[in-house]
């Protein structure tokens, strides 16, 4: 009933279980092993087949999209949570395989310490950091731990959109791989051992890049109390949890991209799983970001120009990730986030997560349906909207503004157009409620609330002012 094009039975309680669980059931793939996990709609896998399936999905997502060129420097964004830990583990294993199937890029790890935004005490932050460093040292890639407070030190250039590099064509990718393999061959013949790709997975100390994994590139100085205080003030000034989450995401993205740019990484991998992306899609929809869903939830996100964000875990559901981590002992660190222990109705994100997971219980293909629909989204303005030179971009999320001042009734927010709507929209945030940036004097607002009062902090980072809409 709930799926277009599918007949779905009523909730499963009304029909007999399709198979008898127990001794008779075998792994659906190899038909021999004893199943240890059931994923999707009743497919039982044994341990080895599950591992193969999981790894294959990861490689297939990377291979299908052909965006990561061999020898490229890729930054892995690790939060300590299960999905990103799993991703890091996959990359680690992938790099140590036999040469034919080996992953061919050069990874680094970045970890953002968000304790100040979440209100953690310095001791708790130090403890979490210590646990993280332990794992980072085990993994052995060059790592950078950055505190969120460093966002105050970002140069204003991060808010400028860099010119987009043309996406490589099919031929370009193949040519790159071929030339790389040739180079490999030559180097292998000469017996030289300092090409980065020849590093053995287990010998972490042989990483030939200039960063010694034991000492991160950025000096490990804790943020000053003044910066922590400023960050806490910033987050306290945002009244709703929804807006706080959005602010945190924007700041985190800018910081990660800055780290990537300064250290020469051209790609960033984030560990968003299928479940998280489905929830993110519905949340973005409810926040009014319908125009940007393809960038927010697609495989690659090129709006920042020179650095491309890639989501290789987007086909793994949270259940698969959790089971993999459990079965194969993938280390992860739990750090409280902004919405840990928040009540269900505290923010749009929490609401949507609870709703989707509840619906998933009743209609088991909800998450995969939403995901499949998200694959059909394209990164283009809708037909009929102005297709011309790209307009101004939002400062925070770098997406083209979707406020059409010259639009018809469709796009006005239901009120008689006021002169303010028609004013030239410069540097106005798109759909970021609760945040106001100064534009031309006299209130410029999104038309959905009384005009907010913009305030400025030095260094170009703007203080959030809630327009007073309850919630």
């Amino acid at each position: 009933m709930c799926q277009v094009g599918e007949d779905y039975a009523e909730p499963a309680s009304e029909e007999p279980p399709p198979r008898q669980p127990g001794r008779e059931q075998k792994c659906v793939k190899c038909k021999e092993g004893l199943p240890v996990v059931v994923i999707r709609a009743g497919d039982a896998f044994c341990r080895d087949c599950f591992k193969a399936f999981y790894i294959h999905k990861f490689r297939a997502v990377l291979g299908k999209n052909r965006l990561i060129f061999p020898g490229e420097k890729v930054l892995l964004a690790w939060s300590g949570g299960p999905s990103s830990s799993s991703m890091v583990w996959q990359v680690l294993e992938g790099l140590s395989r036999e040469s034919a199937k080996r992953l061919r890029f050069v990874p680094g790890i970045v970890c953002i310490d968000e304790g100040a935004a979440c209100g953690l005490s310095p001791e708790a932050r130090a403890k979490a950091l210590a646990e993280m460093k332990l794992i980072l040292q085990t993994v052995g890639f060059p790592w950078h731990v950055v505190a969120l407070e460093e966002v105050f030190d970002l140069p204003p250039s991060v808010l400028r959109c860099f010119a987009q590099e043309p996406v490589g064509t099919e031929g370009a990718y193949k040519a790159a791989v071929d030339s790389f393999l040739q180079q490999q061959h030559v180097l292998g013949a000469e017996g030289a051992g300092d090409s980065p790709s020849l590093a053995q997975g287990e010998e972490q100390l042989s990483w030939p890049c200039t960063q010694d994994p034991q000492n991160p590139q950025s000096p490990d100085r804790p943020p000053t109390a003044a910066q922590t205080e400023a960050l806490s003030r910033l987050f306290d000034s945002v009244k709703t949890l929804t807006a706080k989450e959005e602010l945190l995401q924007a700041l985190r993205t800018h910081l990660i991209l800055h780290v990537a740019r300064t250290h020469g990484y051209s790609k960033v991998m984030t560990g968003d799983s299928c479940t998280r992306l489905a929830i993110k899609l519905m949340t973005s929809l409810a926040l009014g970001r319908g125009a940007f869903l393809a960038w927010d939830t697609g495989f690659s996100d090129e709006r920042h120009g020179d650095v491309v964000v890639v989501r290789p875990m987007r086909e793994h559901t949270l259940k698969e990730v959790a089971f993999y981590n459990h079965l194969f002992a993938v280390p992860s660190v739990f750090t409280p986030a902004l919405d840990t222990k928040a009540p269900e109705k505290a923010s749009i994100h929490r609401l949507m997560e609870a709703f989707m997971l509840r619906l998933q219980d009743q209609f088991p293909s909800t998450v995969s349906t939403v995901y499949r629909t998200s694959e059909k989204l394209v990164k283009a303005p809708r037909d009929g909207c102005a297709a011309g030179p790209p307009g101004p971009r939002c400062l925070l999320c770098m997406c083209a503004l979707d406020i059409d001042t010259a639009g018809a009734a469709l796009l006005s927010q239901g009120g008689p157009p006021s002169p303010r709507h028609r004013a030239a929209v410069l540097r106005l945030p798109c759909e970021h409620e609760g945040l106001a940036l100064p534009g031309p004097p006299a209130a410029l607002h999104l038309g959905r609330g009384p005009a907010p009062q913009p305030e400025l902090l030095p260094q170009g980072l703007h203080r959030a002012a809630d327009p007073g809409v309850p919630g």
């Binding site: 009523e10 809708r382 009734a409």
Partner: protein, 347 residues
């Protein structure tokens, strides 16, 4: 604590705060603002040109009551004339009471009323008969699927009977928000690609349809009906509890409680979705049986009725959608569907 002054006339005490902007208004100013916004929607979108004969889909519920009332107030300015068209789906214990409300309204407003019944139009198939037919073992009855498609066909027929040039329905912003949520949850890319406008311009001989209340939230519609003391029928359809839309509606209420602008944000999102060309519905042609707009051999209404008449009501629902030449049991076909209008609850 006494209520503040009305922010517009500064004379009367404010009676409410508008959900959208938080402005405190008295009853009269609120109604005036509401009417002004509907007028703006119609004028700016050029929805109802002067001289149009407008068929109002009247169900007796709050949305269509408010719609008819507002359009009557605005009719002199817009230069349109109104006809009420009510659809009798044959749902016992629900539609009869609603129709009584419509008749009272028609008498009060002195507007001509035409009632079209499923039983007459569709060869005796009332919704109750459809529900009995589709009730199967452990399966949902999919009543809204049938009712939505057939009702639009019935509205079109009724509008032609009275010689109308445009059809208006009372969908409000909450309905549109629920629709986009529902379409995402069900994975209905075709409807997502099609929806989000203010109605359809009337391709292929179909009458142009629009939804003047689309940017008004449900709360405001109810408040308007309250302040103008309109008489409407407020029970929900007998089959509503089984509808998937109920999940989307529940979610929307939660979202609205957390963030009041969520409803309009969803409508804003829906207008700007960009779907791949392959996901969009194919270009429409004509139904081979009734000549109406269709993107396959049969329009959706004819296909549904076909299935009902053959004793296989699910023939036109789901992956097994077939045209005239269906023989064996349905195999896996393409999941696309004819451009049936958005499934929507009773207005």
């Amino acid at each position: 604590m006494p209520a503040p002054q009305c922010a517009t006339c500064h004379k009367a005490r404010a009676a409410l705060r508008r959900p959208r902007s938080g402005r405190a208004l008295c009853g009269a100013c609120f109604c005036a603002a509401f009417e002004a916004e509907v007028l703006h929607t119609v004028v700016a979108g050029r929805l109802l040109p002067s001289g149009a004969v407008v068929a109002v889909g009247a169900s007796g519920g709050k949305d269509s009551t408010v719609l008819a009332h507002v359009l009557q107030v605005l009719a002199p300015r817009l230069g349109i004339s109104l006809r009420l068209v009510a659809v009798d789906e044959g749902i016992g214990g629900y539609r009869d009471a609603a129709l009584a409300a419509v008749r009272r309204q028609a008498a009060r407003w002195e507007l001509p009323l035409t009632v079209v019944a499923y039983a007459d139009l569709f060869g005796g198939w009332t919704m109750d008969a459809v529900a009995r037919s589709t009730a199967g073992s452990g399966r949902s009855r999919a009543c809204c699927t049938f009712c939505g498609v057939l009702r639009r066909r019935a509205l079109e027929e009724g509008a032609r009977l009275v010689g109308a040039t445009h059809i208006v329905t009372g969908h409000n912003a909450d309905d549109m928000a629920e629709t986009v949520l529902m379409n995402f949850l069900r994975g209905d890319a075709a409807r997502l690609a099609r929806g989000g406008g203010l109605g359809s311009p009337g391709e292929g001989g179909a009458l142009p349809r629009c939804r003047p209340l689309q940017l008004a939230s449900q709360k405001e519609v109810v408040l308007y009906a309250h302040f103008r003391r309109l008489d409407y029928f407020s029970e929900e359809c007998v089959y509503a509890p089984e509808a998937f839309r109920g999940h989307a509606r529940h979610l929307l209420k939660l979202l609205e409680a957390a963030r009041p602008s969520a409803v309009l944000d969803l409508v804003h999102s829906a207008e700007r979705l960009a779907l791949a060309p392959a996901a969009r519905p194919p270009a429409p042609g004509a139904c081979s049986r009734c000549g109406a707009l269709a993107s396959r051999a049969l329009c959706q209404a004819c296909a549904l009725l076909d299935g009902l008449n053959r004793g296989r009501p699910r023939l036109a629902i789901g992956k097994g959608r077939r045209g005239l030449d269906e023989a064996g049991p349905p195999r896996d076909g393409e999941p696309e569907r004819a451009p049936a209008p958005d499934a929507v609850p009773a207005f």
